[in-house]
């Protein structure tokens, strides 16, 4: 279903790029969002991986209409949820679901808290696919539940009106910058009523500024004053979710 912010973004671009056709606007909205998530790593998803002793390869299913862009982290929680207990992973109320909740399991397990997780090593063999293959390095030779933190991106098919469904909070927070991105792409098209090299340069700068801001904010998990604040050096290398992009 088309969200309010998607419709708003569409209208913002319509007004800036007079004469642009709706279909072309939506095509460029798709391209802009694709670049946005590719460059910002802002769309994260935690997925439980049920590790078995007899294989190191696991097909990761996100359960959403997305492609997996990167593996941002692979961890074993200190008190993992029992293997096979929940078929539907318990997610926090976000649209779409992103982070696992601590609710329901042992409250000391702190599934969500990366500081109580132990880092594991694995790679994605075919990032960019909807259900990529995760290959882990060391098999624990026992049934365990690990948590893979994935970076996602939009993909086809779009909804019935040609829109994608990125996370609500990204649209709400960075709507203007996303509009800049769509404007930039449209204005770069040659021979159109809305073609404008200076306009494209301006909107391109604003779009890049938005990407930089988003990337920094996500990496520092929206902490106040994040532009001038850092973890002490010793924590930077494996500070888990708080520095998830820095691994």
């Amino acid at each position: 279903m088309t969200t309010t912010n998607m419709a708003r973004l569409n209208d913002m671009v319509r007004m800036t790029c007079g004469g642009a056709l709706d279909g072309v606007v939506r095509m460029e909205m798709f391209n802009t969002l694709k670049e946005w998530f590719q460059r910002t790593d802002s769309w994260l998803l935690e997925v439980p991986i049920y590790i078995q002793s007899n294989t190191n390869d696991y097909q990761v299913n996100t359960g959403q209409n997305v492609v997996v862009n990167r593996l941002m982290g692979l961890d074993r929680p200190s008190s993992p949820p029992p293997s096979g207990e929940f078929l539907v992973p318990p997610y926090l109320p976000m649209c779409p679901p992103q982070y696992l909740t601590t609710l329901g399991a042992n409250v000391d397990s702190e599934v969500q808290d990366p500081l109580t997780r132990t880092q594991r090593v694995g790679v994605l063999l075919n990032a960019g696919a909807k259900c990529p293959i995760l290959r882990i390095r060391d098999n624990p030779s026992a049934d365990e539940v690990w948590i893979a933190t994935l970076c996602l991106n939009i993909c086809d098919p779009v909804d019935s009106a040609g829109f994608t469904s990125p996370p609500d909070w990204v649209m709400e927070k960075y709507l203007n910058y996303l509009a800049n991105g769509v404007n930039m792409r449209l204005m770069l098209q040659p021979g159109k009523p809305y073609s404008s090299l200076p306009g494209a340069q301006y909107h391109g700068r604003m779009f890049n500024q938005g990407i930089g801001l988003c990337r920094t904010e996500v990496r520092r998990m929206f902490t106040y004053g994040s532009q001038r604040w850092n973890f002490p050096g010793g924590w930077n290398s494996w500070a888990g979710l708080f520095a998830i992009g820095a691994r």
Partner: protein, 143 residues
């Protein structure tokens, strides 16, 4: 769907209005007007290839869809007539030109038809109309 289209019949009716040829017997045959429409569609696709992709990206893209949306060649069979032989603009085959660019096609049909009457004055008029067609597709200021 956020788009409305005109029919072949509507294009012809508007063209005849502009050409002052709205009363039968016509000066310009239907077949010539439809021919101008078909040529205009090709020109429009050359100048604005996005024109026919409008609807394609307002729907989920189907796997393996390489359709460029270019419309078929129209004929006089695509015109809808009332019982008294006049045009029925609401009926007939739809032409997939977004309505905000439909008037550009009017300029092209009129211009192309003016070329058929080969006198110096009409040549200039035709060139002016075809210039309107081009500028309407590529700039915001053209009316």
């Amino acid at each position: 769907m956020a788009q409305t289209y005109r029919t072949v019949t509507a294009y012809l009716a508007i063209a005849r209005l502009n050409l002052q040829d709205a009363v039968s017997p016509y000066r310009y045959p239907d077949a010539n007007l439809v021919l101008a429409l078909n040529i205009g569609l090709g020109e429009m696709g050359r100048i604005r290839p996005d024109m026919y992709l409008d609807l394609k990206y307002q729907r989920p893209l189907r796997k393996g869809d390489i359709d460029d949306g270019f419309p078929p060649t129209y004929s006089t069979a695509d015109i809808a007539l009332n019982s008294d032989g006049t045009y029925d603009p609401a009926k007939g085959t739809l032409v997939p030109i977004p309505v905000k660019y439909a008037s550009a096609m009017d300029w092209f049909i009129n211009g192309w038809m003016q070329f058929l009457d080969v006198t110096d004055t009409q040549d200039q008029r035709a060139q002016g109309f075809l210039g309107k067609f081009q500028s309407h597709l590529t700039t915001l200021s053209a009316a």
